[in-house]
């Protein structure tokens, strides 16, 4: 098991760099270094940011199963970072849609969000992630106490909506969204299974983890 120092000075910077790498890579491509973004760069950014948001979200949800599998608390120390990266990529995905794709064409944007189910679903997922990102600090964890864990369990809803958003968006071949959905199914299934095994009357999964994470 890594020591606190190892986590803080080696592993965390390493995971941070790994999570930021896709963003750096895209930035380099925008700057003309590396593979071209092609004739429709806005579409490439849209897809890249969206897929990385989903990957980060699934990585965030993999932390608890990993902690259980290892029987050690240290994976929890990466969860906030992963979650914030998920939110960052999701926000970039939306910002790209807003600024470069629709160019602030508000009537179209409002119509998209209200009338197009796949966009409604994706936008809802982003709205759910927003308060989670805001309350991810240790200050908010203390202030909210036990409610913090309950609040943050809505990330499950966000993840389901995000997968659904991807699924509905593809034109024909659903292989890729199906893979993400299957991974999410496993990650959520593990939680359900643990709840059932624990039986009634025990503290619930989301809440119990944070005590270990908050110091």
């Amino acid at each position: 098991m890594p020591t606190t120092r190892q986590v803080r000075f080696v592993l965390k910077p390493f995971v941070f760099a790994a999570c930021a790498a896709p963003l750096v890579y895209i930035a380099l491509r925008i700057a003309g270094i590396g593979p071209s973004l092609g004739p429709n760069p806005v579409e490439v950014l849209q897809d890249e940011f969206g897929e990385w948001a989903l990957r980060m979200l699934l990585a965030t949800l993999a932390i608890t199963p990993l902690r259980v599998a290892l029987g050690k608390p240290w994976p929890l120390r990466f969860r906030r970072m992963l979650g914030l990266f998920a939110f960052t990529y999701a926000a970039l995905h939306f910002a790209n849609y807003l600024v470069l794709d629709q160019q602030f064409d508000w009537p179209i944007i409002v119509e998209d969000i209200l009338d197009r189910p796949f966009i409604t679903v994706g936008f809802t997922a982003l709205l759910i992630l927003l308060p989670l990102a805001v309350t991810s600090t240790q200050g908010w964890q203390r202030r909210l106490g036990a409610r913090w864990g309950r609040l943050h369990r809505v990330v499950y809803v966000a993840a389901i909506l995000a997968c659904w958003h991807f699924w509905w968006q593809v034109k024909k071949d659903i292989t890729e969204p199906a893979i993400y959905a299957a991974i999410l199914g496993v990650l959520l299934g593990i939680r359900v299974w643990r709840e059932l095994k624990k039986g009634p009357g025990r503290p619930t999964a989301g809440g119990e983890t944070m005590a270990q994470d908050s110091h």
Binding site: G38, P39, N40, R116
Partner: protein, 322 residues
């Protein structure tokens, strides 16, 4: 059709200078000398893009009053951003994965309600028709658009030679099936062969062409070599590629995307900003190749060809027959 064998592609007098420079840059980066890596597409060494060196000069007889004066996309854009599911689902796939495709020799079968039917070598099929340049807007159902300087011949002129009978109400088209050369067909995402269709009036309309080239060279594999349909007032998926069969039919023929998702893709598929795709708006489109801040522009009914084609649909409910 006269196709002059040329050792390499020289400056084409019909190509605007800026685009020619784009093409030369493209050819240089693509490595005509056999390196064969598509410019900037980041493909692995085993990807085999079409060798631009194999594209041959076409003798293009004339321009056309139907051409738009909007700036055409570069040949690189046109060759690197394609929807051609026979080669793969990603828009870069057709460029990367179409290297094994053999567009020659080629024959086209004509059958159905016509006096003249049979299987014809491509050169005979194209026959005596002079090749025109037609610079057309292309609007994809995915809400992006391009401007493409096609080289082709009016479909109607070709069809007349086969003397369709009075029972011929529609024209059906079919794409070649060669899973060994077309990796996307091995995945079977769509029900291949890809099929499309037009009403007789649409097929005979002077805007409708069979394209055999782009920018004065033969069609690259990824763009539907050696012969494809171009119907500029309809969404791009109507413009079927690599055609091997043309059938005159009495009944409306099945069309691939309509079979795949009938709620989303109709038989007519006329460009129409008022009729949204169930999952996204068709009110505007992104003109590709214009960079990060390029125009998103309003989509125009019939892709701006309403003056020519609107009368084909007099009395037809475009919402119902989308």
């Amino acid at each position: 059709m006269i196709i002059r064998q040329a050792p390499d592609i020289r400056p084409s007098e019909i190509t605007p200078e800026a685009d020619f420079r784009g093409r030369r840059e493209f050819l240089r980066r693509a490595g005509v000398a056999g390196m064969g890596l598509l410019a900037g597409s980041g493909c692995a060494a085993d990807d085999k893009p079409a060798d631009p060196g194999e594209l041959r000069r076409l003798d293009v007889a004339s321009g056309s009053p139907f051409s738009t004066d909007e700036a055409p996309n570069s040949l690189e854009d046109i060759m690197s951003y394609c929807n051609f599911y026979e080669f793969g689902l990603d828009k870069r796939d057709p460029a990367k994965l179409s290297g094994d495709f053999q567009p020659r020799p080629w024959s086209v079968t004509v059958d159905g309600e016509a006096e003249v039917t049979g299987t014809f070598d491509l050169d005979d099929f194209i026959g005596p028709h002079p090749i025109e340049e037609r610079v057309y807007r292309l609007r994809c159902v995915e809400a992006w658009s391009m401007v493409v300087p096609w080289n082709g011949i009016p479909l109607g002129d070709v069809l007349k030679r086969f003397k369709p009978t009075s029972r011929a109400k529609y024209v059906a088209f079919e794409t070649v099936v060669r899973p060994e050369e077309m990796p996307g067909q091995r995945r079977g995402v769509l029900d291949f062969p890809y099929v499309e269709g037009l009403t007789m009036a649409e097929a005979m309309h002077p805007l409708t062409i069979l394209a055999v080239g782009v920018y004065g060279v033969t069609l690259p594999n990824q763009n539907g070599a050696p012969i494809r349909l171009v119907v500029p007032w309809k969404y791009g998926f109507k413009s079927i590629k690599s055609i091997v069969r043309i059938s005159f039919t009495e009944k409306e023929p099945p069309t691939t995307w309509n079979l795949a998702a009938p709620r989303e893709y109709g038989f007519y598929a006329n460009v129409n900003p008022e009729v949204d795709h169930p999952r996204w708006s068709q009110a505007s489109e992104r003109r590709v190749g214009t960079g990060f801040f390029g125009d998103r522009q309003p989509t125009v009914l019939f892709n701006g060809y309403g003056e020519q084609v609107a009368s084909l649909y007099d009395g037809l409910d475009l919402r119902k027959f989308f």
